[in-house]
């Protein structure tokens, strides 16, 4: 597919200036065969072939200097166009879905299990109440435990509302328009998701880049330790997704996203009439609403972690790779300290 990207002159130039972002120092890996994201899994072509075939210079490691300790700059075509398009479509979709979803939630700010919403059976509610002194407080009740969340949840900016104005679309109370935003972007997300899934299967992006290998899974302990101390993969290891990254992507793409769609559909009385088993497996109509809400906050958690990781591992390099496809990996022949 994206085989036509011919290496531009600068791609094989020493691009030290581009690598100031913290991809960090190398750990002395020898050059090894890795499966690049968005690239073929065959052995990398010889330099000469790469040039004559017009293939991306995915292995075009170029020494900046004869010195053995000089960093090796490599440009990797990391994300193919369909992945990039799909990724950026997700950004407005998810933000608007989350915020319009909170608008819809505000219309009945309580969650339950089962088919009925018996008011005394809510496991979560976010409401405003008047204290004895006449003051209005926002009270969030989770499994019977009450928390005063005035200012954010339950009561904010002088009005009783579960989620505050800055978290909802529209910002003011308007269930009808909140639903219209939500359902429009829900369709867009579903279409985008189907497109991405089809692409990931056909291009083998899924099996090659996203599915964790046995080796990945055996290294999970080390990966957790590395993440805790914010030690990120560098060099060749930075070209592929690490095991926690793979698990996070697979979980969000193939567990949370389908779940959010299914629970969304399960709140539809028309769908329920035709597919009654949906509510059987999802814990009733209110159970589905609860799972929908939890899935929503799984997305929120994912987005926060994702954005933090993007920043920690080289914001501009990461952004460039998701915009243009090209990712810069810098390897140093000798170990050195971490940057930022």
């Amino acid at each position: 597919m994206q085989r036509t990207a011919t290496p531009k002159p600068e791609e094989t130039q020493p691009v030290a200036a581009l690598t100031h972002e913290g991809t960090g120092a190398g750990q002395g890996h020898e050059h090894e065969q890795v499966s690049e994201l968005g690239l073929r899994s065959e052995p990398p072509p010889l330099e000469a072939q790469a040039a004559s075939d017009g293939l991306p210079a995915n292995q075009s490691a170029v020494s900046t200097a004869p010195s053995a300790s000089a960093p090796v700059i490599e440009r990797v075509y990391r994300h193919r166009l369909p992945v990039r398009i799909s990724h950026w479509l997700n950004v407005p979709c998810l933000l608007i879905l989350i915020m319009s979803g909170l608008q819809i939630f505000n219309a009945h700010p309580a969650l339950y299990w089962g088919d009925r919403s018996d008011r005394d059976q809510a496991w979560l509610s976010i409401r405003s109440t008047k204290t004895e002194s006449g003051e209005i407080r926002g009270i969030t009740t989770i499994l019977g435990y009450k928390f005063d969340t005035t200012g954010v949840l339950g009561y904010s900016d002088g009005s009783g509302r579960a989620f505050p104005a800055w978290a909802t679309v529209p910002s003011y109370k308007f269930l009808g328009m909140g639903r219209q935003w939500h359902l429009f972007f829900a369709w867009l997300l579903v279409i985008n998701g189907l497109f991405f899934t089809a692409y990931a299967l056909i291009s083998r992006h899924l099996t090659r880049d996203l599915a964790p290998t046995g080796k990945d899974l055996r290294g999970i302990g080390q990966a957790v330790k590395d993440h805790v101390v914010l030690r990120h993969p560098v060099g060749n290891e930075a070209k592929r997704y690490n095991v926690l990254q793979k698990l996070a992507y697979v979980a969000i793409l193939f567990v949370v996203a389908p779940l959010v769609i299914l629970t969304g559909l399960a709140m539809s009385p028309t769908i329920d009439a035709a597919f009654p088993w949906l509510l059987t497996i999802l814990g009733g109509r209110q159970g589905a609403r609860t799972i929908h809400f939890i899935a929503c906050f799984s997305f929120v958690g994912f987005i926060v972690l994702h954005v933090v990781q993007v920043m920690l591992t080289g914001f501009f390099n990461n952004m460039r790779s998701m915009v243009t496809g090209w990712f810069v990996v810098r390897r140093e022949r000798e170990g050195a300290g971490h940057e930022a």
Partner: protein
């Protein structure tokens, strides 16, 4: 030096994100209030309707529950009392003179008194009511299948929608109405209900007659039904979008 640069960059990013999100949020509000954008968002309503009608069987029955599942409290939402003098008189007479008229694009316009309706074969169903706000309640409804009435009045071939005219008016004097596709009138669970949980309907729940349109959200279930009019188009009725809530920005197709 390097540290400073990193800090500056972080501040820059933070500021950019903050500003961008504020602008985006204000932008969403502006779009919501614009004259053109909601009609783009609303394109998905037709898509949803088409897809839902294509993948679900038109005769699929909404789940019917057992008596043990009935909600102890069935919330009453929307208008809970029409509050007009006309309606108050009917309440005083216990709706003994209430009639429902079925007309418009039909072969034989007819009207039934409440007593006459109760003479007709009835259907009782314990179903879940899903409000657009998100809550659900289960109740036992008894009423006349709307399809039976349709067979008697014989809709004309050009009739496409049934419009329900209701006795309630809002604070600004706008009369409540609702509508559904004619095909949905024949669904076995579409009934004109006069009983909830074995008792005559009370005022908050739509006495003496309310529509049960299982498979769609609560606001489609018109209360206080006085007249059913079959029409070819919804244009020209109320705000033209097919219902009181629809005129206020809710979807006409409330299957989800």
């Amino acid at each position: 030096m390097k540290h400073e640069r990193v800090m500056k960059r972080r501040q820059f990013l933070k500021g950019t994100f903050g500003a961008a999100s504020l602008v985006a949020l204000a932008g969403c509000d502006n779009l919501t209030q614009s004259s053109w954008f909601p009609s783009i968002l609303n394109k998905t309503e037709k898509l949803t309707e088409r897809v839902q009608r294509a993948v679900t069987s038109a005769n699929a029955l909404a789940k019917e529950y057992g008596d043990a599942d009935i909600s102890k409290v069935f919330p009453a939402n929307g208008s809970t009392d029409p509050g007009t003098e006309y309606y108050a008189e009917h309440v005083a007479k216990q709706f003994s003179e209430w009639t429902v008229e079925v007309g418009g694009l039909v072969q034989t316009p007819m009207s039934w008194s409440l007593a006459a309706l109760k003479e007709l074969p009835s259907r009782t169903q314990v179903t879940r009511h899903d409000c657009v706000e998100g809550w659900s309640a289960i109740g036992k409804w008894t009423g006349v299948p709307l399809g039976d009435l349709m067979h008697r009045v014989e809709p004309l071939p050009n009739a496409k929608f049934a419009v329900f005219h209701c006795a309630d008016v809002d604070d600004e004097g706008v009369a409540y109405y609702e509508s559904m596709a004619l095909a949905d009138c024949y669904h076995p669970q579409t009934i004109l209900a006069y009983e909830l949980n074995g008792n005559s309907l009370d005022v908050p729940h739509g006495a003496p007659l309310r529509l049960r349109f299982e498979r769609q959200l609560g606001y489609k279930h018109a209360k206080y039904v006085m007249k059913i009019e079959l029409v070819e188009t919804l244009a020209g009725i109320g705000g033209g979008r097919g219902g009181y809530w629809e005129d206020l920005g809710y979807e006409w197709y409330a299957g989800i």
